[in-house]
């Protein structure tokens, strides 16, 4: 007896070293995999932030403008359509640089200020016509090229012909800077404006609202339908060949490339139901098709994880099948279902392929005000900016990605908080 015990002990001890080594190896591999993941993530975030953070600040030029009545109200009352508001900016620039008289030089000078400045003047007068005839010190956005020079994204030392800013303009920038007229402010335009082809005026508000409208449509459609389907399939449906077939199909559907849902939306919602192209309504419908399988699968898993003893106890005290589901199973499964829904939503938020087919990859300046207004979405805006030739769009692309990531983080945080609040332990 003792002998055989000793033998097996020896056997164990002989193999122990190898077992421990294997375990160490396995742990090290795991650690390595995690490290690689973290390093990639860090590289991604650091390049994104180093490239994009400068876009949150924008160079502005301080000008003393005169809202001259001659320009704004030639006929006695303010003209907000045809008056030459650019002339107000032009005159203010001429006051700073009185020596610039040549036509071409003047044109160069005016190009240092964003074309948005004239529209800004118009908006000011529209809001407060009593300013006509007064002098005000105002801040207008500088043109994107000036901004790029100030941020160091345009090399000042290379040959004049190779950069978009002339030597003359560089000298003017330096003079404005020396006089303290060049101010760097938070780039509010990025959050209040729709898209623009002028980088200094371009904002993500339109895309953000488009994404928001789409997500509303998606959650309103996909969550109730997905939850109802999951409850039926899990609690009421008979187990037979048909329910198996449905289950296989739902699982397959969750893995279908998203562009297919875009094609489906194009064929059904736009061509057949003749809903408008580029509308968040159609985008939301396409995305709800996309998220439906995700929500059904997550909800079914949540319902399945409710212990059968709870169902049996409820049935035992005389509850009907429906009372069991609504009084006991659903409250316990809800945290899991909500998490599934929000994960589905985050996926929908990051999708751009299905939107390509339904005309949401478009240049839309006006911020959408409803479900049928033309709109784009955040990922589409990122794609469009990444493809723009202007240098200043590169940093704005990164900034838009940061905002999208922030949005995603917020949604996932909501999922965690919701789950924590409604979660019940048993």
């Amino acid at each position: 007896m003792t002998r055989s015990k000793n033998v097996s002990r020896q056997k164990v001890e002989a193999g122990l070293k190898q077992r421990r080594r294997r375990e160490r190896w396995f742990q090290m591999l795991g650690l390595l995999a995690t490290t690689i993941g973290v390093v990639f993530l860090l590289v991604f975030f650091s390049t994104l932030i180093s490239k994009g953070s400068s876009a949150f600040m924008q160079t502005h030029i301080m000008l003393d403008v005169e809202y001259s009545a001659e320009i704004i109200s030639p006929d006695g009352k303010p003209d907000t359509v045809y008056a030459d508001y650019d002339a107000i900016i032009r005159n203010a620039l001429m006051e700073i640089f009185p020596e610039v008289t040549d036509r071409r030089e003047r044109r160069d000078l005016q190009r240092m200020v964003s074309i948005g400045a004239g529209y800004q003047m118009r908006a000011v007068i529209e809001r407060d016509p009593s300013l006509i005839g007064t002098r005000q010190s105002i801040v207008v956005p500088a043109a994107a090229n000036v901004d790029m020079v100030v941020k160091g994204n345009i090399d000042r030392d290379i040959d004049e012909n190779l950069r978009p800013v002339s030597d003359r303009q560089l000298a003017w920038i330096d003079r404005l800077d020396a006089e303290g007229k060049l101010v760097t402010q938070f780039n509010t335009a990025l959050f209040t404006n729709g898209d623009s082809r002028e980088p200094e005026l371009a904002g993500i508000r339109g895309a953000l609202m488009g994404s928001l409208y789409m997500l509303v449509v998606t959650i309103v459609l996909a969550f109730p339908v997905g939850a109802a389907a999951a409850v039926y399939l899990e609690e009421f449906a008979p187990r037979n060949r048909w329910s198996d077939l449905i289950e296989v199909n739902i699982n397959n559907l969750a893995a279908v490339p998203s562009i297919v849902f875009g094609l489906l939306a194009l064929a059904v919602f736009i061509n057949w139901m003749s809903l408008p192209r580029s509308a968040p309504l159609v985008g939301g419908l396409a995305l709800s098709l996309l998220t439906l399988p995700v929500i059904i699968i997550a909800s079914r898993a949540a319902i399945k994880s409710v212990p059968p003893s709870i169902r049996e106890a409820a049935l035992g005290v005389g509850a009907s099948k429906m009372q069991v589901v609504f009084h006991h199973v659903l409250p316990l499964a809800l945290p899991g279902m909500l998490t599934g829904a929000i994960i589905g939503m985050s996926r929908a938020l990051g999708e751009s392929a299905p939107l390509l087919m339904i005309g949401m990859v478009a240049f839309i300046v006006d911020v959408p005000a409803g479900f049928t207004d033309p709109a784009t979405a955040l990922p589409v805006q990122i794609y469009l900016w990444a493809d723009s030739p202007e240098r200043a769009f590169a940093e704005r692309t990164s900034a838009a990605i940061i905002v999208l990531l922030g949005f995603l983080l917020l949604m996932n945080l909501t999922a965690v908080i919701l789950r924590k609040r409604v979660e019940r332990k048993w």
């Binding site: 359509v81 044109r107 074309i115 529209y119 345009i154 090399d155 290379i158 012909n161 190779l162 950069r163 978009p164 623009s196 082809r197 002028e198 449509v217 309103v220 459609l221 969550f223 109730p224 339908v225 939850a227 109802a228 139901m273 003749s274 809903l275 408008p276 192209r277 580029s278 509308a279 309504l281 419908l285 609504f326 659903l330 005309g359 990859v361 478009a362 240049f363 839309i364 300046v365 006006d366 479900f371 049928t372 033309p374 469009l384 990444a386 493809d387 723009s388 030739p389 202007e390 240098r391 590169a394």
Partner: protein
């Protein structure tokens, strides 16, 4: 119970939103201009659209980037508020597309030639300049090149530019370019490769005798990793060129214009791509850009006439207009005023083209 009623309420509201919007839209007209088409014309059309929208009382037009072919397909689907008013195109409309248009009731189409776009072969600033001919480009990039005897084709054996043409440096051939779905690629194949291909006599002779074979020989790009399809994103090509000074990249002139501090355009047939060389037609690889307008939509869609006027105004497409800042090469003065006059009169193109 409350949960059930909430769910029912949500479903009902979703359904009503959907229904309400369908009926509302079916009746209402459209109060903005709807533009589709070429991704090459997109940067120019969007600038005009934005200036027009900001400067006028009308809404800013919606510009979709669908590619020339996709845009003309949507354009020719029919007349009415559901269909685009304007199609941008980086090539002239084809007869087949005209036929499709008229079959769908789109009859009077106004053609507007807006200017030229050059396609450049660019390299990093730090690399030595290489003056290429179109024949060099064809021999370096074609899948099959002429062999020792006339009529014989061999798989492209060339590894360095020196193999192609002894006067060129012994630099490995490495070219980054757009994928076949891109209009830039089509134009490059037609204007550079096909032109270079025609300099070989027996292939040029095929053009009339066996045009299909001619196109296959001239337009097929090698697939052995020497030509890298870099996706539709031209900014990416610029970045890759900076990182790899021995590579060449193919993209539109506007990207060269915006990145002139990082990359330079190589001379083709001895002419470097510059604003002036493209404008006067001496740079060989350039193509005209167009947009097409439905006459039936003018004065029906609010602002369409104004958009046309804005696009054809001198401050937009003129020699010193804002489009030239974005890299559009303007038409010669005379042609520009002719086109502008035709647009002002809304004179449509004749139904049978060519």
């Amino acid at each position: 119970m409350t949960k059930r009623s909430t769910a029912a309420l949500l479903l009902a509201s979703a359904a009503s939103i959907a229904l309400m919007n369908t009926s509302a839209f079916a009746q209402a007209g459209r109060d903005y201009i709807y533009i589709v088409g070429s991704s090459t014309v997109y940067p120019f059309a969007t600038v005009v659209a934005e200036r027009f929208g900001r400067g006028s009382q009308f809404k800013t037009p919606k510009v979709e980037s669908t590619g020339s072919g996709g845009g003309l397909k949507l354009f020719c689907d029919g007349v009415g508020v559901d269909y685009p008013d304007v199609a941008n195109s980086s090539r002239a409309i084809k007869q087949s597309e005209m036929d499709r248009c008229s079959a769908n009731g789109v009859h009077e189409i106004i053609e507007v030639k807006i200017g030229y776009d050059g396609i450049v072969v660019a390299a990093a600033m730090s690399s030595a300049t290489m003056s290429l001919s179109r024949k060099d480009l064809f021999l370096a990039l074609a899948k099959q090149v002429p062999g020792a005897s006339s009529g014989q084709l061999v798989a492209n054996p060339y590894k360095t530019w020196k193999d192609v043409n002894p006067t060129l440096p012994a630099r490995a051939i490495e070219v980054l370019g757009p994928p076949p779905t891109s209009g830039t690629r089509d134009a490059f194949a037609e204007l550079a490769l096909e032109a270079g291909c025609q300099e070989i006599d027996w292939i040029a002779a095929l053009k009339s005798s066996d045009s299909e074979r001619f196109l296959t020989i001239c337009h097929t790009v090698r697939e052995d990793g020497v030509f890298v399809e870099a996706g539709e994103n031209d900014n990416l090509i610029v970045q890759k060129l900076e990182a790899n000074p021995s590579a060449l990249g193919i993209f539109g002139f506007s990207f060269l214009d915006q990145n002139a501090d990082k990359v330079k355009g190589e001379p083709i047939d001895g002419i470097a791509p510059s604003f002036d060389a493209i404008a006067d037609g001496s740079y060989p690889v350039s193509r005209p850009l167009y947009f097409y307008v439905k006459k039936a939509h003018v004065d029906v869609i609010p602002g369409l006439r104004g958009y046309l006027r804005e696009f054809t105004s001198d401050r937009a497409w003129g020699e010193f207009g804002y489009l030239s800042d974005r890299g559009l090469i303007p038409l010669p003065d005379e042609e520009r005023s002719q086109v502008a006059a035709a647009v002002a009169d809304l004179s449509p193109m004749s139904a049978a083209k060519n």
